[in-house]
Amino acid sequence: MRRDQPTHLPQSCITPEPVYRRRREVLQLLGLGAAALAAGCGSEAASPQAAAPETRVPDKSLDVASHVDDANGEAQTTYADATHYNNFYEFGTNKSDPAANSARFVAHPWSVEIAGLAEKTGRFTLEDILKGQALEERIYRMRCVEAWSMVIPWVGIPLANLLKRFKPLASAKYVAFTTVERPAQMPGLAYPVLDWPYREGLRMDEAMHPLTLLAVGMYGRDLPNQNGAPLRLVVPWKYGFKGIKSIVKIEFVERQPRTTWNLMAADEYGFYANVNPAVDHPRWSQKTERRIAGTGFNLFGNRIETLPFNGYAEQVAHLYAGMDLRKNF
């Protein structure tokens, strides 16, 4: 097992081996008795040869100008976990599919079409988009609508910095995003599980909020394909499905854009999709979440309470003042 650790990562980012191993202990205890009963292989099976997924060698280390921990010092998810447990249906609907099926995806070169109600529109290369922008590291909580969560150090630029460059018109009230659609490189597209291409949207003030990040990397390195290379949205106070991946189009529009999961089941996935423990998903509770993070697996420790706006209420609650969040879920 290789563990390459980029030198610029702060020590706090790296889960110490003993801590990492502790997550398995409870399961080991649980398993021991049962295994002895079941298979009679108790003693020799007990040696904890943890076979964590191999961490990939970094493509290149990103030049990060600033580091901000917006997750209150909470334990981070390991790189291996954050890159092997993904919802990216274009590569398949199992959590392990994106990592397994995205190797053929070509993320470079890349360009993004800027369209709609702005003074400057057109097609821009990724280099254009990032030119003159200092990359920032932001450690955010990521809460999936399926009631699990991670803590991930993203690298990117505030979306506002980019949007301002195109001088959106006053009539632009929303921003609509579209994911790339490449059937030859994305095997999941063969089955119409969602209405492809994947689309998402934000209200202009949400898009311009300083927490909203356009990420190009994570853990100090380029985004892996399965995490939305080369360019994805991160909106930490919303459910994960708002964080659209592999963006090829950004459009300024006047009316609230149609979004993929909302089209799929409007009663289950709202346009706003703000993390809200008080409003259950019709089929499951949103009160608590299972945290997938480095310190990991202990019997009672990895289920935690979900916070309003995923813990970012102080920064974003004012955006929704006067709105009925039960209706505008």
């Binding site: 191993r21 997550r23 398995r24 399961l27 080991q28 649980l30 398993g31 021991l32 049962a34 295994a35 079941a38 298979a39 292989c41 099976a45 007990a46 904890p48 040869q49 943890a50 076979a51 964590a52 998810t77 291996a80 976990d81 954050a82 092997h84 447990y85 249906y89 609907t93 959590k95 392990s96 399926e146 699990w148 089955y191 599980v193 969602l194 799929m264 259950d280 089929r283 499951w284 509770s285 009160k287 608590t288 299972r290 997938i292 697996f297 019997l299 009672f300 420790g301 990895n302 289920r303």
Partner: protein
């Protein structure tokens, strides 16, 4: 000879096979190879096997009629009890490993969340079947035993619904289980036809 007959000799093998998924799960748990979300893995894999064994149990009777290998019936109780075992493991993992300290939530979840409601109902309904699975109970209940154990079809359907309702978008796998359930149900209806009907059918065929 150690065993009475071939079936008796095969039983330990089937028993071991049924236990294999559980042993595999325990093995993975001990070696930390359950992936990034071990709790979800424990739940999904125990649930998958619970459903598979429920359907396998229901497949015994149609298979007997189809193949004429009537001795298959002697595996049915074991399969059924293993189905109950996997459903119970599944529930225990949900309660103790997944929900963890949030005990109060369970009542709300059972009452409010349809997929939990049907899953829990399936487990409850399995209890009387497991308790009456012995030879003595079969004898004591007589014809009622068969009536009671027909609930197994409902239980399997509840299991399939439980799976259907928890999936977000890709319903291919639960749909496959539902298809199997429907096929078994249709086979059951055919199998249940009376001997007299059977005779009439054969007679009709001979005339052609």
């Amino acid at each position: 000879m150690l065993f009475r007959d071939r079936i008796a000799a095969t039983k330990p093998l089937v028993f071991a096979l049924c236990l294999l998924p559980f042993a595999h799960l325990v093995w993975d748990a001990m070696h930390g190879t359950l992936g990034p979300d071990p709790v979800a893995q424990l739940e999904h894999r125990s649930g998958d096997w619970a459903l598979r064994l429920l359907l396998a149990t229901l497949a015994i009777t149609p298979l007997r009629k189809l193949t004429g290998w009537h001795k298959l019936i002697r595996f049915r109780r074991m399969l059924g009890l293993f189905a109950f075992f996997y459903v119970s493991v599944h529930l225990l993992i949900y309660l103790f490993v997944d929900l963890g300290g949030y005990w109060a939530d369970i009542f709300e979840q059972i009452a409010k969340k349809p997929y939990i409601t049907v899953g829990f109902a399936a487990w409850l309904l399995l209890i009387p079947l497991a308790l009456t699975s012995t030879q003595a109970m079969m004898r004591r209940l007589g014809r009622n035993w068969q009536r009671l154990h027909r609930v197994a079809y409902l239980i399997a359907l509840l299991g399939v619904l439980h799976y259907f309702w928890l999936v977000k978008a890709d319903h291919r796998e639960p749909a496959l289980y539902l298809c199997i359930w429907i096929v078994l149900m249709l086979a059951r209806l055919r199998v249940r036809s009376r001997p007299a009907d059977e005779l009439r059918r054969v007679a009709a065929r001979l005339k052609i």
